[in-house]
Subunit: 326 residues, 2 copies
DNA sequence: TTGTAAGCGTTATCAA
DNA sequence: TTGATAACGCTTACAA
């Protein structure tokens, strides 16, 4: 006999009343509440969450989908897990390693009621394939999806990129290399367009020969600089996909005796703690706030209500943080 | 009517047979299997995982408990999530922010059948309180718990620490500072004892005045060096709690014009990618392998069988990685 | 190989 | 305020 039935037996009340006490319903007499509560404590009762989930259709679990738990997504992840927990939601990690089938499992888990909602941090499947899952529960994305059905909480990175470009130009750096992340990502596209437009507006050369893609880690950064340095002409400045790439550039420059920022200026992206420690100029990216946004969107749907208090009134802003590498 | 009932109705078979097909039981005729499979595909059926979990008593979910998802635990987390997924288990993150009540919620979730098992990465509650939860499901720990009931997959850090000390002494650094993590942790205790024992064996001074605690991040490292440098005598070498602290030390030393390794040698811990990039001498710590171990322990219990193939035959080893900071 | 029927542990709808 | 009873969607003895 389950503990639930035990409580029913010992208290003399019905199944329904016991359930009401568990769920703090107001329609219970004080005597019933006290008696049942006592017995619950005595038996050290906890509800079986699978039974609750089956009955209510809600798991209070949210899935978060990403290629892997890297440093780059860490602050988003951390903030999301934290705020979700504050609102009574657990977070399940789905790491896909960039594999489409792995990734689809997360979406299937939405369909099979394992999770109530989904946050996409990075994903590799076609948006038009994924949006079919929207009918099973709310989905929001950090990565921009280029699809209205799956809303994104990301900011347009063009804006941040322009801040970096203005800063560089104002200090006299005009021959600029760009180290991008994923070729197909909308972020990369935004950044590239921002760069090209900005340079054209200022009648400066657009150096597409200094574009590099799939540069994510410090090691990637080191390698990229080695390549660039092998050519006849060294750029005056490098715009990096993120701070970790910038660290790689900085380190490799030191090894090669390239002086920073005289011979080479470096700008990172995201403003992580290490960029501060290592004196790297960077663009502050309000990542934690975007994670908060992501949760709020989901929460609003799952609770069928707006969550005004948490939806930032003023839009988020990028900010240039000037340090020693420019 | 649920899709399950729909399948029963359309196929003409019973509830049990349909279930058998879903679970790939051998005791089903080819005709039945084909007919039912067809209908399942037609209806785009997926089982409701809450119903399955309620019925079987297994969720195929494992909770991972930590203060926060920091860089330091990242490779453990990543590897654990990956291998768990390979074996059909999802991972739920419980971040506690060092709060005992938050932490207990993870353990209560084991009790309420939300997760099948638990991995402790870091925890703040008393082991004797936590071990009461062992009866509800398997628990393993990365952090050493000092309790037999909750086994730990961690290695004794004394061994790694000794490697670092031997290396330093062999290069002539004898006046050594130690930057530790949490004061009460068994790791810190191990490291401190290793240091003291090693120095005494070699008739060298034990500099307890150069002990610092709660040093975790680059910023903590910078601050620690600032303090040390303010004193009359600077140590010849610093042993750091992890590579991130070492980065902070390295950076602050550069700022202060302290030359590395001539005036100050630095040894990190863990051998992260950044230690390589930044040329920091460190101790390689097979963290991913420990995460694998952790999963295997849980898996062995949950499947009531040994997992010999995955349990490393040879014991894991620390390794000194000498770079430019020594 | 198939079917019957009893669980799994809750919530929710009525009616009283 | 309470209680009967059905519903949630699936698994699993036990029989046939």
């Amino acid at each position: 006999m389950s503990k639930f039935d035990e409580i029913i037996r010992l208290s003399g009340y019905s199944r329904a009343t016991v359930s009401r006490v568990i769920n703090h319903s107001r329609h219970v007499s004080p005597e019933a509440r006290e008696k049942i509560t006592d017995i619950m404590n005595q038996l050290n009762y906890v509800p079986n969450r699978n039974a609750v989930s089956l009955s209510t259709g809600q798991t209070h679990q949210i899935g978060i989908v990403m290629a892997s738990t890297s440093e780059i997504v860490l602050s988003f992840l951390n903030q999301f897990v934290d705020i979700a927990m504050d609102y009574g939601f657990q977070t399940i990690i789905y790491t896909t390693r960039g594999d489409k089938e792995n990734e689809l499992r997360a979406f299937e888990d939405l369909r099979s009621k394992r999770v109530d909602g989904l946050v996409i941090v990075t994903c590799v499947n076609e948006p038009r394939l994924l949006k079919a899952y929207c009918e099973y529960g709310p989905i929001v994305s950090w990565q921009r999806m280029g699809s209205d059905e799956i809303p994104s909480v990301a900011m347009d990175q063009a804006e941040g990129y322009r801040l970096a470009l203005e800063h560089l130009i104002s200090r006299g750096y005009t021959r600029i290399a760009n180290l991008f992340g994923r070729v197909e990502s909308l972020n990369t596209q935004s950044r590239r367009e921002a760069y090209e437009q900005f340079m054209q507006e200022h009648h400066l050369p657009v150096r597409t020969d200094w574009y590099r893609y799939s540069v994510f880690t410090p090691t990637d950064g080191e390698q990229a600089l080695r390549q660039l340095a092998a050519d006849a002409e060294l750029p005056q400045a490098v715009l990096c996909a993120n701070d970790y790439v910038a660290i790689g550039i900085q380190s490799e420059a030191n090894k090669q005796g390239i002086s920073i920022p005289d011979q080479l200026a470096i700008v990172g992206f995201d403003n992580t703690e290490l960029a501060d420690t290592l004196g790297i100029t960077t663009i502050h990216n309000p990542i934690a706030e975007q994670a908060t946004h992501a949760f709020c969107r989901l929460w609003a749907v799952l609770n069928k209500q707006q969550m005004e208090s948490l939806l930032q009134p003023e839009p988020l802003k990028y900010k240039l943080i000037a340090r020693q590498t420019t």
